[in-house]
């Protein structure tokens, strides 16, 4: 545990928006159909939120539950709390067909912060920000790799796979360079 480090050691970049790699962040991939008995209870017990609706993310403090697909949810929580959350899920869904697996280390997480944070992502992802809901979890791509992001605080939280963390930081930094803001 003491050896756990995020993919880029919390690297950051200051441009017209600020990019920060955060983490390690706890994540659990939970696969289950929404009608499975005990699912809402399991999510509540794991991260304290309700069952997210299609394309939505429910955020509660430093925890969240996001809808990833018709039978997949992403649970976000402090890194050290995944074991307890897994136990809670297993208890709530005992006897049901589901799959819960810790994926904290398979991911890298970035905050894109600032008034023009959306511009940084709009250069990389085919997303209409004007139509993005306040609590929407957007699964899309950034340039050539898969990402997901949602609004949080003064910007966005963006998740990608750990192995391409450096590529994604490169993309975000390139897009956020001073002089590249769109007026």
């Amino acid at each position: 545990m003491s050896n756990a480090v995020s993919a880029l050691g919390n690297a950051s970049f200051d441009g017209f928006a600020k990019i920060r790699e955060i983490g390690p962040v706890g994540m659990i991939s939970l696969r289950a159909k929404p009608e499975v008995k005990g699912l809402a209870k399991a999510i509540k017990a794991a991260v304290g939120t309700g069952l997210p609706a299609q394309r939505q993310i429910e955020i509660s403090g430093d925890k969240a539950a996001g809808w990833m697909s018709p039978d997949e949810y992403l649970l976000i929580l402090p890194y050290a709390e995944t074991a307890a959350a897994m136990a809670a899920i297993d208890k709530a869904l005992k006897g049901e067909h589901y799959l819960a697996v810790v994926v904290s280390d398979a991911r890298a997480v970035f905050h894109v912060e600032g008034a023009k944070a959306d511009q940084v992502i709009a250069k990389l992802s085919p997303v209409d920000f004007a139509k993005m809901g306040a609590n929407e979890l957007r699964r899309t791509r950034a340039a050539q790799v898969a990402v997901a992001f949602w609004r949080e605080g003064d910007g966005y939280t963006l998740v990608c796979f750990r192995s391409v963390a450096s590529y994604v930081l490169g993309l975000l930094s390139h897009s956020a360079m001073v002089g590249s803001e769109i007026k």
Partner: protein, 1002 residues
């Protein structure tokens, strides 16, 4: 002589002088100039040479249609070839050089082609360089390529950066002239989200140049008011210097924004490529004037009438003191009037029409301008610049009746709507007989996903050629687009003062009866040197299709893509074929409308972020050790870890020997890891793998093969049973994403009622192979769990701790040695790797790379997906029948493998090979057989699949497929080599090392 006028110039700022250079000559211009206007202001009439004949070329146009005035712009990392001076904004310190000349622009030896022009007719290259065939590649093509070509390719890395932007709108207006602004005003007022693009640096287009009056005000005032109104609308985005270049399916539009072309090095991206998804697209792209085809129409000083007028009005630049205007329409009289009003001399307006009584000609006459009706320019006099024109009767054959001295000729053959964007995605055109041009047919528009129109053309782009018509048309078109986008249109059109224009007369050749000598000097395509005579020759030679004629003559194939030559060329072709112009039709309009620099298309994808590079948690350690990395998919893996003084081969051999005798550590994190869980997971895996996975006991591992439905071997790996309902499937490094997708495909599309979930956790875990006789000692030194033979036998796994790490340890071996593969969370991967090296130092631990991995597995006769397999190989070919269940009713590939061809005993099968002289068989070698096949090629009986020098056996070893397989053991066969000759080898068992597996099972 072209020069700057004392007064006027609505776009230039005379208080801001700029210095620039052309071919090293220092010149001055003003802020607001284009490079074209600045060159003309400095009397630089000659700006380049044509492609084929190296003829002198001057500026013809004032916009993106310019075919001649292309320059190399900038220096070093900012050098760009083929830049149009007409669309290049002047900036302080701009450096330009002319192209396609040698040794200099003024004296070009290539011009010798000029006098030989009659030996270089259309299709010349095709006719001359046909035979002998080999000469084309080795002789003709290199010479033609060396003498041809306009700009030079940049030699240095681009110093600038580029980016792309995804944008969305309900309504996109392409073009910021008065029609575009009018459409935008109506669309903006509807509340729709609107983006307006204008390719130049200013709004309003040509209206102020034409002296239009809108809502009782000069056009420039109306434009300012309109832009201010649009700027005040929250829902409207205005972009200058942003050209809409392509319309694609479903309202997708590409636009190229020249962010910093005019301010190089200011820290902004040079270009930004807009990738716009629009609900509706309004094209207000204006029109382009056509040249007239008379002899000498390519001599510098002959310009489009509208361009000449634009230079005077916008930039206070005159192309000459004394101008002859030649026309077939009323619009060109605006040029004559503008010139006289600017204090210049118009020697005559030469009008091909017999009767000329329109309002504009009458105004010209009232100003004292001579109008010569029914008259043609027979020939322009001059070499590097115009000195005069010879006139004759348009109805005649070219007898010269009069000669007029002049230093500029303004020509107008009518205007063609810019229908490119309308046409890109399937919009159709009609031939307008009155205006003699193609214009959009609103009943056959480009359609979107719903089958309804997605593009509306307005203004001059729609054939509404006067300001009054254009504004009314724009309002109407915007209304249609706004409604189609789901909004309600309101607001009414501005009204421009109507100026009646008399009908133009089609003039495709001037004079109409011109003989061959004159026709051979009438240029259609200035850049590629295609003349009227070339198109007529093509027609005589049977090129009836306009598309074929284009390619045969190269008409319209230059960097301007025929913006000036297209209509004139096909009109000449139509006449030569005795066809109507609409029956001949146009060539296909393809994006981009104007050239887009490759940098903009590449966007951010260059340098470090050219493509995603996948890194394992230990990647930084490998880099620090200066490992030699190789690509494995998008991963980079260490090939070997060379030490000081070692080459790669020596490093690989050391790594193999050290692993076999002491301890090797491999970063195996890239290995695919997929969790499969559910009540039906066992059944599912039994279908996916050729073997039985459902019977695998918890805590054990089993090697498995996956095949495609056709039976071909697709992936392999070790499967571990985690608990009653859960399996972990290891895949190859390159196969992880593909196999995960393959699993989901079957679960979602075929066996959707099976209760199975999968999760690709490849990146969650770092994995290290600890390999060699000292492997167990290392783990025991770290301590924390029992890794003895008894507790953790071969092909078992266990969870536990090693040192301070939570681990899962698999007792599996891909090397034949005592081996543990250990998984830890990726966030601890680097720390674990370092801990292993630290503790292993006294045990002789060394990292090893993929090449040592490959050699060791080959020494053991283990197959490698991608080496022994290539999509045509089934497991039986590789003697892997033992891994295929005979009991199972079905699995993916079973029925495929039963097909006659795959079940045939004649198939090439795996065997090992040892060269008689201990050398290494060349990669890719075939095993030769006696005789020749039907094509006269030597017969073969097998091929090599893996070949290495074995440091363990100190000889070359190989695996390969051979007819007869293991039945051939003992035979001597011959492998061919690239350099000729063969290598003799003995067929042997493919397990070269430790056949009984004693070393891995300790």
């Amino acid at each position: 002589m072209s020069t700057r006028l004392q007064k006027g110039g609505r776009l230039i700022d005379r208080s801001a002088a700029l210095e620039f250079s052309f071919n090293g000559k220092r010149l001055r211009g003003y802020q607001g100039d284009t490079l074209a206007s600045a060159l003309l202001a400095n009397d630089q009439m000659l700006v380049g040479r044509s492609f084929k004949y190296h003829r002198p070329r001057g500026i013809v146009a004032a916009g993106p249609e310019e075919p001649n005035a292309l320059v190399g712009l900038g220096k070093g990392g900012r050098f760009e070839p083929n830049q149009r001076v007409t669309t290049t904004e002047l900036f302080e310190g701009l450096e330009a050089e002319s192209q396609n000349h040698w040794p200099s622009l003024e004296y070009d030896v290539g011009v010798v082609n000029n006098s030989l022009a009659r030996f270089l007719p259309g299709g010349f290259y095709y006719k001359t360089f046909m035979y002998p065939r080999a000469a084309w590649k080795h002789l003709f093509e290199p010479i033609i390529r060396a003498s041809a070509g306009l700009g030079k390719a940049p030699r240095e890395k681009d110093a600038d950066r580029y980016e792309q932007l995804y944008a969305f709108c309900d309504l996109l207006v392409v073009g910021g002239g008065i029609a575009g602004l009018q459409a935008a005003l109506i669309a903006g007022a509807s509340g729709a989200k609107v983006i307006v693009l204008e390719q130049t640096a200013f709004w309003g287009g040509r209206a102020p140049v034409d002296g239009d009056v809108i809502d009782g005000k000069p056009a420039a005032l109306w434009i300012n008011t309109a832009v201010q109104a649009l700027e005040a609308m929250e829902n409207v985005t205005l972009r200058l210097r942003c050209a809409g270049v392509g319309v694609y399916d479903h309202g997708y539009v590409l636009a190229d924004e020249k962010v910093a072309d005019h301010t190089p090095g200011d820290g902004r991206p040079k270009h930004r490529l807009w990738r716009i998804r629009a609900g509706q697209i309004v094209t207000a792209t204006g029109a382009i004037e056509r040249p007239l085809s008379f002899a000498g129409n390519d001599i510098p000083g002959v310009m489009l009438a509208g361009a000449l007028r634009e230079y005077v009005v916008n930039f206070a630049v005159s192309a000459g003191d004394r101008t002859v205007v030649v026309t077939n329409n009323d619009d060109a009289y605006r040029t004559a009037i503008a010139l006289v009003e600017a204090g210049l001399v118009v020697a005559a307006v030469v009008d091909a029409r017999v009767t000329v009584t329109g309002a504009l000609p009458e105004r010209a006459r009232a100003l004292g301008i001579r109008v010569a009706t029914g008259t043609a320019v027979v020939k322009v006099k001059g070499g590097k610049r115009v000195t005069g024109v010879q006139l004759g009767a348009q109805a005649g054959e070219g007898a010269v009746l009069e000669e007029i001295a002049c230093d500029a000729v303004a020509m107008s053959g009518g205007w063609s709507p810019v229908v490119h964007l309308w046409s890109h995605c399937g919009g159709k055109l009609n031939w307008d007989v009155d205006q003699q041009h193609f214009r959009p047919d609103a009943t056959r528009p480009p359609t979107g996903a719903d089958g309804a129109a997605m593009v509306v053309a307005v203004g001059a782009a729609n054939g509404a050629m006067t300001a009054a018509e254009a504004l009314a048309d724009a309002a109407k078109g915007a209304g249609i687009a706004v409604k189609a986008a789901g909004f309600k249109a309101s607001g009414k059109a501005a009204v421009a003062e109507a100026v009646a224009e008399a009908r133009m007369e089609p003039v495709w050749v001037m004079p109409q009866g011109a003989g061959p000598n004159l026709r051979a000097k009438m240029w259609l395509d200035y850049q590629n040197d295609v003349k009227v005579s070339d198109v007529q020759l093509a027609a005589r030679e049977g090129y009836e299709s306009v598309e074929h004629t284009k390619r045969y003559t190269t008409l319209g194939m230059a960097t301007d893509q025929g913006k000036l030559s297209n209509i004139n060329g096909l009109a000449v072709l139509a006449h030569a074929l005795n066809e109507d112009i609409p029956r001949v039709g146009t060539t296909t309009f393809r994006p981009p409308y104007v050239p887009v620099t490759l940098g903009a298309l590449a966007g951010e994808s260059r340098g470090d972020i050219f493509q995603p590079l996948r890194r394992t948690p230990m990647h930084s350690w490998h880099e620090k050790m200066q490992a030699y990395m190789e690509p494995v998919g998008l991963w980079r893996r260490p090939y070997c870890f060379p030490r000081a003084g070692e080459n790669h081969e020596q490093a690989v051999h050391r790594e193999v020997n050290n692993t076999r005798t002491a301890l090797g550590l491999l970063d195996a994190s890239t290995l695919g890891k997929i969790i499969v869980k559910g009540p039906d997971a066992g059944k599912f895996l039994d279908m996916l793998y050729t073997g039985v996975m459902s019977s695998l006991p918890v805590g054990k591992c089993r090697y498995g093969l996956m095949c495609s439905e056709q039976g071909f071997l697709s992936d392999d790996g070790v499967v571990a049973r985690i608990d009653e309902e859960t399996w972990l499937c290891h895949t190859t490094s390159g196969g992880a994403d593909r196999i995960h997708a393959w699993m989901e495909d079957w679960l979602q599309c075929e066996w959707w009622d099976w209760q199975v979930y999968t999760a690709n956790i490849t990146e969650q875990l770092a994995q290290v192979a600890v390999v060699g006789p000292n492997a167990r000692k290392l783990l025991e030194k770290l301590g924390g769990m029992d890794v003895s033979k008894e507790t953790l036998p071969f092909m078992a796994w266990a969870d536990g701790t090693l040192g301070e790490f939570d681990v899962r340890v698999y007792r599996i071996s891909f090397s034949g040695e005592l081996s543990y593969e250990i998984a830890v969370p990726a966030s601890q991967g680097l720390a674990f790797w370092e801990a292993l090296h630290k503790a292993g130092a006294e045990l002789g631990a060394m990292p090893y790379g993929t090449e040592a991995l490959h050699i060791m597995r080959a020494e053991k006769g283990f197959i490698m997906i991608g080496d022994e397999t290539d999509g045509t190989v089934i497991p039986q070919d590789l003697n892997l029948g033992w891994a295929i269940s005979k009991k199972k009713a079905d699995f993916l590939g079973k029925r495929g493998q039963e097909r006659v061809y795959l079940a045939s005993p004649e198939r090439w099968k795996l065997a090992g090979f040892e060269t008689l002289d201990s050398s290494v068989v060349p990669d890719g070698s075939y095993i030769v057989a006696a005789g020749k096949n039907a094509n006269g090629q030597g017969n073969t009986q097998g091929r090599v699949t893996s070949t290495y020098y074995s440091p363990t056996l100190k000889r070359g070893i190989a695996m390969g497929l051979i007819h007869g397989g293991l039945n051939r053991i003992g035979d001597i066969v011959e492998f061919n080599t690239v350099t000729g000759g063969t290598v003799k080898a003995r067929v042997v068992d493919p397990v070269f090392y430790d056949k009984d597996g004693e070393k891995q099972n300790v």
